[in-house]
Symmetry: C2
Subunit: 267 residues, 2 copies
Amino acid sequence: MGCDSSAPRRYNGALSPSVDGPPMKDALSAVNCGNCSVRRLCLPADLSAEEIDRLEKITGKRRVLRAGETLYRAGDPFANLFAIRSGSFKSTVIAADGDTQVTHFALPGELLGLDAYSGRMHSSFAEALEDSSVCVLPFAQLEGLAQEVPALQHQIYSIFSEELKKENETLLLLGKRSAETRMAALLMNISSRYSRRGYSATAFVLSMPRTDIANYLGLTAETVSRLLTKFQREKVIAVRGREVEILDLIALSELAGTHCSYEDAGA
Amino acid sequence: MGCDSSAPRRYNGALSPSVDGPPMKDALSAVNCGNCSVRRLCLPADLSAEEIDRLEKITGKRRVLRAGETLYRAGDPFANLFAIRSGSFKSTVIAADGDTQVTHFALPGELLGLDAYSGRMHSSFAEALEDSSVCVLPFAQLEGLAQEVPALQHQIYSIFSEELKKENETLLLLGKRSAETRMAALLMNISSRYSRRGYSATAFVLSMPRTDIANYLGLTAETVSRLLTKFQREKVIAVRGREVEILDLIALSELAGTHCSYEDAGA
DNA sequence: CGGACAGTTGAGCAGCGTCAATCTTGGTGG
DNA sequence: CCACCAAGATTGACGCTGCTCAACTGTCCG
């Protein structure tokens, strides 16, 4: 957790095209990696125009989901990866005793379904937190193309590896940190991820309910609520429902225990 | 966590070649995937004899580490993956404020260093918990070979994917489980992993100190110690130092909250 | 024999969960 | 347009789980 490890170190307010949520209008146009707004976070990164062209040929269709709809369930046969174009998702796993754990929140440019390759079956659930759209990537074809295009191969490994790195950071967070630290770290994390996607780093909408945040952080909804109120009392953030504005990024990053601010104070 | 997802569902005591720790004698012989005792858990799984032959040509050398030695550190340039032949390792990450989190315990047949691909730099530490030996896999060459050998490609994806799945299970464990459940789940997990490697599922040596177990589980060493004593009082296990014997596998699996026993009660 | 380190055990306390009441919000229908 | 409802969010009181601090034991090795 902490900061998006590949996020720019210095925050530039001018990056933000919008301070509101991600745009939601391109739902039905043909898939087009070449000018996709999240291409540099997604599979096409570092591919040549010709390679992107071949990639587009196999990214057959788009799928649009309304808030609350499920993209896949544990047990579903694995056929596709999904690249998020817009919106956001939560991934969950379910224990033998039935209770569920939120394992990720996924934003545009991120791939869903990577954990389903081995065993040819999904082992987790992915549910849209808001109206969202994804590119459907038939993995068999993607695999074949990767066999011919080393740069794509490379990018697939990178994404897998990046996921593992992120999970390590999540484990660090959940391991032995206070509720306050976890909450602050999540806010910093979401902030840096939105920032990387060109949105405001300091004003965003949490697309998930408090219960999901709590579950993800290993806390209760009550504790999450109390902490947000506390941060607000301390003038670190302003909250109104699911809208969050970060008033003091430095203070928040100190609460998060990482000194990963957007200043060049460095890591 | 819970059970090794691809472990056999029924435990057969006759599988065990030995009830003591892993053997430690093959240290200096040439690398030979074809007859490696962990090949079916490692890269060679599902490769033809000819393909294994090509794999052996690039697995240049072996490296032997004594207990406590470090295989790699965060920040080291990434050049190799490491396949564990014998012994065991802990992976850790270090937070900005200096405190460390144990993220995995790795056993023979498992690959270390997968999280270093993106960014070309290790992001975690790997330290031998006992005298151990690993195969050194120069990733550039492995990547090249995978480009030509789809089955190897496939296996690399599988291992990445499997890692992600395992991490999800760890998150589930750390998310919202009691100390007792976590401890029982770790014992079940180690049991099933040893069993899969041909060792006893009910008698093994924990190669890591209590502090590492505690750190991994998000607990304190005192709590771990108290729980082991409690399990022993309840005749679920017998502990003597780092030696553990599971006396009641069913009871332990129930404590772990999973109904993943070795009986065909089935999940 | 002694020192260091790992592990165990106990007493006390606090962070966060539980339970329950209340408030807010957005959607729906009259 | 407003009343109503259900789901989500907030707030408070209270208690348990697991942490802290500290003393003690056992074991390995020089």
